[in-house]
C-alpha cells in the first residue's frame, strides 16, 4: 500500500522508525517530513499528508506529533480527510469499519512504539463495512471544510513564517 506519513520535530525519530517498519512490510512510504529535530510547525506536515491522501497520491496517511492533536487537527481541516486521533487499537479499528478513516493520528509522547505499530497494522488491514448509517455519516463529514485552503500549497503559511522570523511569536 502507498502511505503518506508526517510529523513535527518532537517525534522525528519515531516517524523514521515507523517509516522503516512500514517499508519492511513492503509498503511504499511518502515521507512528508519533517526530517530533523529543528523547531518547526505541525500544520505544515499535517496539510502535506492530507493533500497526498485526498488527491489519491497515497491510499492512507499517518500523522504523529507530541500529543497528536495539532497535526491530526491540521489534517482534518482538509476536506475529504477522516482522521481519528487514537491511543488504542479498538478506536482505530472502529474508525476504519464505521467511518472509512483515511488518515490516522497518534501522539508520539503519549503512545509507546509497540502499541503504535499495532495501531498502524490494524488501521491498514481493517476494511470499511458500509451500512446506510455509515454512508450518511461519511457524506456529512466529507461535506465539511468545503472552504478549506488545504490544497493551496505550503505557501499559505508563508505569512506566518515571516512573522516567526521577525520574532513576532515569542514565549
Amino acid at each position: 500500500m502507498k502511505i503518506a506519513i508526517g510529523c513535527d520535530h518532537i517525534v522525528t525519530d519515531i516517524k523514521d522508525e515507523m517509516v522503516r517498519y512500514l517499508e519492511a512490510q513492503g509498503h511504499e512510504v511518502i515521507d512528508c517530513g519533517t526530517y530533523d529535530f529543528e523547531r518547526t510547525h505541525y500544520p505544515i506536515y499535517g496539510r502535506r499528508v492530507a493533500e497526498q491522501v485526498v488527491t489519491n497520491e497515497a491510499e492512507r496517511g499517518i500523522v504523529i506529533c507530541g500529543t497528536g492533536v495539532g497535526i491530526t487537527t491540521s489534517a482534518n481541516k482538509v476536506q475529504g480527510v477522516r482522521a481519528p486521533l487514537v491511543r488504542d487499537v479498538t478506536t482505530a479499528k472502529m474508525a476504519r469499519k464505521q467511518l472509512d478513516a483515511n488518515v490516522i493520528g497518534i501522539g508520539g509522547r503519549i503512545t509507546g512504539l509497540g502499541l503504535m505499530q499495532e495501531i498502524v497494522d490494524v488501521f491498514l488491514s481493517t476494511p470499511y463495512v458500509e451500512t446506510e448509517e455509515s454512508k450518511q455519516l461519511i457524506a456529512s463529514v466529507d461535506a465539511l471544510a468545503s472552504t478549506s485552503r488545504g490544497l493551496d500549497g505550503d505557501e499559505i503559511f508563508d505569512e506566518f513564517l515571516e512573522k516567526w522570523e521577525a520574532g513576532c511569536y515569542v514565549d
Partner: protein, 139 residues
Amino acid sequence: MKVALSADKASEGRKQLIVNHMEELGHEVVDYSGDDVVAAIVRVTDAVRDGEAARGILLDSFGSLSYMVAAKQSGIVCAQVSDEHSAKMTRDHNNSTIIAMGTEVIGDTLAREIVSAFLGAEYSGGRHQIRVDMLNKLA
C-alpha cells in the same frame, strides 16, 4: 465557566455523569444533544466560536466522529483524548477549546479526570500561536 455539550444516544449515561461532575466543579452546562448527531456537534462548535460557551465536550461511542466534525469547523481546535495528560497539554499548546471522548473506551473515573484536567488548564500562547494561526488559515 459555561460548557457546551453534545452526546449520542449510546452516551446518555456518561453524559449525565459528566454533567453532574461539571456542575459540582461549579460550571454551567448547556446540552445541545439531539437526534442528528452531526448537527448537535456543529451546534456545540458554533456556541464555542460565538462565545456563548467557553469550552465544549463531545461524547460518542469512540470519539472519532465528534472529533472529525469539530476539527473541520473553521476557527475551532478540538482534541480527541483518552488520557489526562493530552487533555491538559492540548489546552496549553494547541489552545483547544473542545474535547471529544469515546464512551466505549474510557471508564467513568478517567472521563471525570479528563474533564477536570481540560477545564483546569490554560493556553500558553507564545511560540505555539503560530501553529494555531496556521490551523485557522487551513479552515
